[in-house]
Symmetry: C2
Subunit: 214 residues, 2 copies
DNA sequence: TGAGGATACCTCGATGTCGAGGTACTACGT
DNA sequence: ACGTAGTACCTCGACATCGAGGTATCCTCA
């Protein structure tokens, strides 16, 4: 940490700021519109109250990452249209290219990063980032200790803890497969990977979208 | 929020405190041992520096959730062995039985809750909590907006965003299957569910099912 | 006309976060 | 004898979080 700020800005602020940088890179927005996008993306993990968003925007403006152009008389109050500066774009690319450890290990932060990884542009750089996640997923990990000894899934008596590990394993496998496939595609000449949904479990035509039941 | 504290304690503190309550319910610990367990469980999402842990313990002690017994001359510094009070146990059960919205929607918090759900004891109450997660997973959700319109996976051009949705879908399916299976087992008389993965929606044996690509 | 709701931004203050740094003792290697 | 690492707890201070509450405009529906 400690990047464009003199001091530390806190781990959480980083996920928020990354998403702000990313969305503004997509297109200039005013605070309210930005907030709606942020809520859709990370609201289920971290709600974005205005009293968090606006101070964040101010400090990012102060840091030179974005500019606020007051657009008079448009709607209700004077809107501040937010636009990323060159410095802001550079900061975004820097964060995407050299993620924090937590950006890679925390699924939520990782997905936030992924949502904007296209802004990195060079396929090789994108692949390098994906590899970091892959490395993390391949590390043995354990959630529970018996004294000092890590416990493996098979040793757990508790059905809920077993469930945690079962689901984590399934997730890990799914993600690993996607990562490998995508890294390969990226390194095979930067072709767009996953252009048409690869034949898999997801039946094409099943538009039910994210997280379906059944 | 706003439970045993007069005022609000913040969303993050809640995950930390739940884990503290849960681990101390497992067995009394001193701060250092507690910290190691916390790090194993949630460290990849939220590191637990001492300067966060010890103040948390103090405020929980002040709230009557735990007591600290000074154990003299043991190791280096005088250890404070932490034990949950009756009030602490009640608070734990309360948080498990009536989770916050975010406890259900944020995977990290949900897994933390799951890790201690056994302390709820009544199978019916456990099943009720699992159902909440199931309900959430069955809700249609979207991460990206085009203006105001939610975008579906198929509409996304960006391979990384597609990846996010692909992985989320796979995860959702795996978790949904586990949840349904476990709820059924719990409601069928409180037998231990998942003892040896019974056949559910997931093809038994091959857990690979979940993998989208390849 | 008037209420309600969405848009759009703001301040204030209580609180949690967490790095930096301190204390102190044990144990091991060299 | 000395350095390093681990155990175990602590304070301080800068900062981010976020609910409560405020302001103002616009639109819709009754």
């Amino acid at each position: 940490m400690s990047r464009y700020y003199v001091h530390d800005v806190g781990e959480n602020a980083f996920m928020l700021e990354l998403a702000i940088l990313g969305f503004l890179r997509d297109s200039p927005l005013h605070g309210y519109g930005l907030r709606k996008r942020l809520t859709a993306l990370i609201g289920h993990v971290r709600p974005v109250p205005e009293s968090t968003l606006y101070p964040a925007l101010k400090r990012m403006e102060k840091a030179g990452l974005l500019v606020r152009a007051t657009e008079p008389g448009a709607a209700a109050a004077p809107r501040h249209v937010l636009t990323l500066t060159g410095e802001g774009e550079r900061e975004l690319r820097r964060r995407l290219a050299t993620p924090e450890r937590l950006d890679v290990t925390d699924e939520n932060r990782w997905f936030t990063l992924l949502a904007f990884l296209r802004h990195l542009e060079e396929p090789a750089a994108q692949a390098a980032v994906l590899r970091q996640r892959l490395t993390f997923l391949e590390e043995p990990s354990s959630f529970f200790l018996d004294g000092d000894r890590p416990l493996r899934a098979e040793e757990l008596d508790d059905p809920f803890r077993r469930g945690v590990l079962t689901v984590a394993r399934a997730t890990g496998r799914a993600e690993t497969a996607w990562l490998r496939e995508t890294v390969a595609a990226l390194e095979a000449g930067g072709a767009r990977p996953g252009r048409d949904a690869p034949p898999g479990d997801a039946p094409p035509g099943d538009t039910r979208d994210v997280i379906p039941g059944t």
